[in-house]
Amino acid sequence: MSGIRGKSSPHRSVLWSLVLLIVLVVITVFALYSGVAGNESVIIWNIRAPRVATAAAVGAGLAIAGVLLQGALRNPLADPALVGVSAGAALGAVIAAALGISYNTFLSACIAVLTASIAIGLVLWVASSQGRIEVVTVLLGGIAITAFAAAVVSVIVTASDLAGSRTVSFWTTGSFALANWLGFVSMIPAMVLGTAIALAIARPLDIFALGDSAAFASGVPVAKIRIAALFAAVLLTATGVAVVGIIAFVGLLIPHAVRLLIGPSHRALIIVSGLAGAVVLVLADTASRLLLSPIELPVGAVTAIVGAPLFLVLVSSARARQGGWA
């Protein structure tokens, strides 16, 4: 009897965590020091360091938010930018700025969290039917909310002197160029809280795989866990968007890649995806600075050029596996 084994082995996730951590350190050092003549510590510590730290935190936040949304909505195509959370957050930061609240502040981050919560609340309200959340309707609702929020952002940015210090394209493609220590600090409380919630609900999220009614029958408070997961995803996304704009595909693709490496168990998925998200965005930001230097590319364009084709592959394989999704 004692011969029965089969619990997922944690070894692979520990190994991948270490690998990603080492890669993160290496590219961080490269991002900090590349092209700096001699030892110009002002450039390194006041411009580059906050930028790298912000990219790492935003990447980790987006990837963990993607894990949470995909698990809680049982939707392989969920991503903060696709379900309307990111655009909702951008709208909040812009409204706050128009009202005189500076960018990269804690108050700006709080308002972004509020508007992003409203956005996902609206999407779920549209997509819920008799206790079931429909995969396609979530994405359609996300498209509508994103279009609406982006339109209002462009109106406010055009009309308001205060909000207009950041352009429309800053919000739609994202950039780390305006990252500073103040902005980094403004998002840390939400990032820490969001990650803590994510780890606390990791096991019930595994059980969500059975479907709502079987998860409930196994003792999981399904509605509470789902709301906690969505709120954590909002915390992890919105505060980053308020500082750097909307960066698509990171939250969607990283959880899928990591699942291929270490399996679907959420505790490991959250940790390894967080590290992978940090690596990918620090790398993408460094690439956006150096590829056509001295011209700087928008980082969201870099992630989309790589991410959009991968997204098509993902849609096609997920669709084949599930036989479509109504």
């Binding site: 009897m1 004692s2 029965i4 084994r5 089969g6 619990k7 997922s8 049982r74 008799q130 096991r203 019930p204 595994d206 059980i207 795989a209 059975l210 479907g211 009614s213 079987a214 409930f216 029958a217 196994s218 003792g219 999981v220 408070p221 399904v222 699942r259 399996g263 679907p264 168990s265 596996r321 599930q322």
Partner: protein, 258 residues
């Protein structure tokens, strides 16, 4: 544990009746079969007892607990459910899936029995050698056995099995029947629905017969599975004959007339 419905009924949106107000007390420590045609309200009746559905009239109770007012963890200590609407699960091992059944016992003294309960449940359905296999690689019948093991590992006094035989072949159904009989032997109260009235007559002690959203009979299986009751339930001419010696296992033969 006393399992009861108190004038408990459900109307869905648009005033469609899913189950008329029903009162019954399940026989504790016995196997009760839920019998009736498609759409008669079998799943609704079981869902009201399990808490999957909130009644629009009356209430269901498990022991001292009113189902809709009980926290999900406590509820899962009292009853386990095998339902028909399981989602496809990818990547997790058989052991992982069965271990989820131990969720209600987290933070209690029963948590120390987790490994033992999981292993025993896997062995009882003959899946002890498949513990490490990814669940999506199993056949439909094997998956159904894993989910049966999951429900057994939950180790609650009441088991609600909604058509657990739907994906099982002949051998699987025989295994299911012996597993259910074994659970009865360990003192569980079992509520099981099936379209196979012949088999139910062999393993169940009691029957709940529903037809057209109404309870039409509740009592010993020999009195439930009769030509009169079954014909009324299925709105057809059906003949029932009980065979087998008194004292030995008896079984009903159900045949459609004309």
């Amino acid at each position: 544990m006393k399992v009861e419905l108190h004038a408990c009924g459900l109307k869905s949106k648009g005033d469609r009746v899913r189950l008329n107000p029903t009162s019954l007390t399940l026989a504790s420590g016995q196997i009760t079969a839920v019998i009736g045609p498609n759409g008669a309200g079998k799943s609704t009746l079981m869902g009201l007892i399990s808490g999957a559905f909130k009644p629009t009239r009356g209430y269901a109770s498990l022991g001292d607990h009113i189902v809709t007012e009980t926290r999900s963890q406590k509820l899962a200590q009292l009853r386990a459910v095998l339902s028909q609407d399981l989602a496809q699960t990818y990547g997790f091992s058989v052991y992982d899936v069965v271990s989820w059944a131990r969720t209600p016992w987290r933070g209690t003294e029963h948590q120390s029995k987790d490994a033992q309960a999981i292993e025993r449940a896997l062995s009882s359905v003959g899946m002890q050698n498949a513990a490490e296999r990814p669940i999506h690689q199993l056949s439909g019948g094997e998956r159904q056995r894993v989910h049966l093991a999951r429900v057994i590992a939950q180790d609650s006094p009441l088991l609600i099995l909604d058509e657990p035989d739907s994906d099982l072949d002949l051998v699987g159904r025989n295994l299911l029947d012996s597993v259910v009989t074994g659970l009865f032997g360990s003192g569980k109260t079992i509520l099981i629905s099936s379209h196979d009235v012949n088999r139910m007559s062999r393993i169940a002690h009691q029957a709940v017969v529903v037809s057209q959203q109404k309870l039409i009979f509740h009592g010993p299986i020999q009195q439930a599975v009769t030509s009169e009751v079954i014909s009324e339930a299925f709105q057809s001419k059906i003949r029932v004959q009980w065979v087998g010696q008194p004292g030995a296992v008896q079984e009903a033969k159900v045949t459609m007339m004309e």
